[in-house]
């Protein structure tokens, strides 16, 4: 008797049609690129250096760890991803990757990335990476996301940790300077996601996710977005005020922060009847630019500072 029968149905024996590209999509490459960038800034901003090859290994491990948490998120959230237009084409809801494959992939990469960072770089950064994966996959995805409108506020900590991991990879500790970098991303997350949630509220409603516009209403969300922008703008300038950077960064961050408050103000003034929600879409787009630009400014300031110091020697 044959051990395997061609007539076995898909449920009993499923040959995967997932390509390497589908597994790559599980890692959320766009989120990963932001994680890599902010972690890199954390590494460069640190007052000491490590072997450049070990720095590349650290960045790779952080990227894979972040990707692993994305895969675990897609495994757990496949049911709600399927009903949201923004996420319906992800590999699990599309049926390209089975939930079990996504779970296994995420777990294997989580262990691999944490162990690699620990063995080759240091165990503090590895512990922070493990905490980040746990926080995103378990605390945010499995608990907060479907439970409270503060989901992305608290869950934002996971996305904000990479600069601290990068800093820890180089220095072996976590300084207040890296905490300020954490704080910038942490305070940026609510206005960024709530701007998206405003013009995608029907999607979130359909999926049953308690995002702020669906729970507290659009008007309250607009006020909270503006409040967070007022907190974010000065925190963005804080590295200069605390003496970590030059005035060059201070001027750039001040302009970027003023821009953020301006876009948030336009969202605040957006009438309830506005269905196109152009101000919310504009803020969402600007918020992406803001985070990239402020970290790029920090990076440029650190690199120039080092170059000047080397020139002085």
């Amino acid at each position: 008797m044959a051990l395997v029968n061609n007539r076995l149905d898909d449920q009993a024996f499923r040959m995967s049609e997932a390509t390497a590209g589908d597994f790559l999509a599980l890692l959320k490459p766009r989120v990963m690129s932001l994680v890599v960038f902010t972690a890199f800034v954390g590494m460069v901003a640190a007052p000491v250096t490590i072997n450049p090859f070990l720095a590349i290994v650290a960045i790779l491990a952080i990227a894979v760890g972040a990707g692993a948490s994305g895969a675990l998120n897609m495994w757990y959230d496949a049911d709600i991803d399927a009903v949201m237009t923004r996420t319906a084409k992800r590999p699990v809801p599309m049926g390209k990757v089975s939930p079990r494959e996504a779970l296994t992939f995420g777990l294997v990469l989580s262990v691999l990335s944490v162990m690699t960072l620990g063995v080759l770089v240091n165990w503090l950064s590895a512990a922070l990476l493990a905490f980040t994966i746990f926080f995103y996959a378990v605390i945010y995805t499995m608990w907060l996301k479907r439970w409270t409108p503060q989901n992305i506020v608290i869950g934002g900590a996971a996305g904000a940790l990479p600069p601290m991991i990068g800093w820890a990879a180089v220095t072996g500790n976590v300084g207040f300077e890296s905490f300020v970098l954490f704080l910038i991303t942490f305070l940026w997350t609510p206005p960024h996601f709530w701007a998206l949630a405003l013009f995608k509220s029907e999607d979130y409603e359909r999926a049953g996710i308690p995002m702020m516009p669906n729970v507290a209403g659009a008007a309250s969300t607009r006020r909270q977005i503006f409040a967070y922008s007022l907190l974010l703008a000065p925190v963005g300038v804080a590295p200069w005020l605390l003496g970590y950077t030059t005035a060059g960064y201070g001027v750039v961050s001040l302009a970027l922060g003023a821009g953020f408050v301006w876009y948030a103000w336009k969202v605040l003034r957006m009438p309830d009847a506005d269905k196109a929600m152009k101000p919310a879409k504009a803020l969402f787009a600007y918020s992406l630019l803001y985070l990239f630009a402020i970290f790029a400014a920090y990076l440029a300031d650190s690199v120039i500072g080092r170059a000047v110091a080397l020139g002085g020697v």
């Binding site: 044959a2 395997v4 040959m15 995967s16 049609e17 390509t19 597994f23 072997n51 290994v57 080759l120």
Partner: protein
């Protein structure tokens, strides 16, 4: 064993499997190189200076 006793992969399943195999191969090769170079980077020439 005859053909009927085996799983016959469709063309898309074969292409997908090949794509996964190549990716796994590349990832394993990359890991070997990373751990080899990282060992040298961490320990330096001292890695070769060991009593027999």
């Amino acid at each position: 064993m005859t053909d009927k006793e085996m799983v016959t992969l469709t063309e898309s399943q074969q292409k997908a499997r090949r794509s996964r195999n190549i990716a796994i191969g590349l990832a394993l090769a990359a890991l070997v190189i990373i751990f080899y170079l990282a060992t040298i980077a961490k320990f330096g020439p001292a890695i070769l200076d060991r009593p027999l």
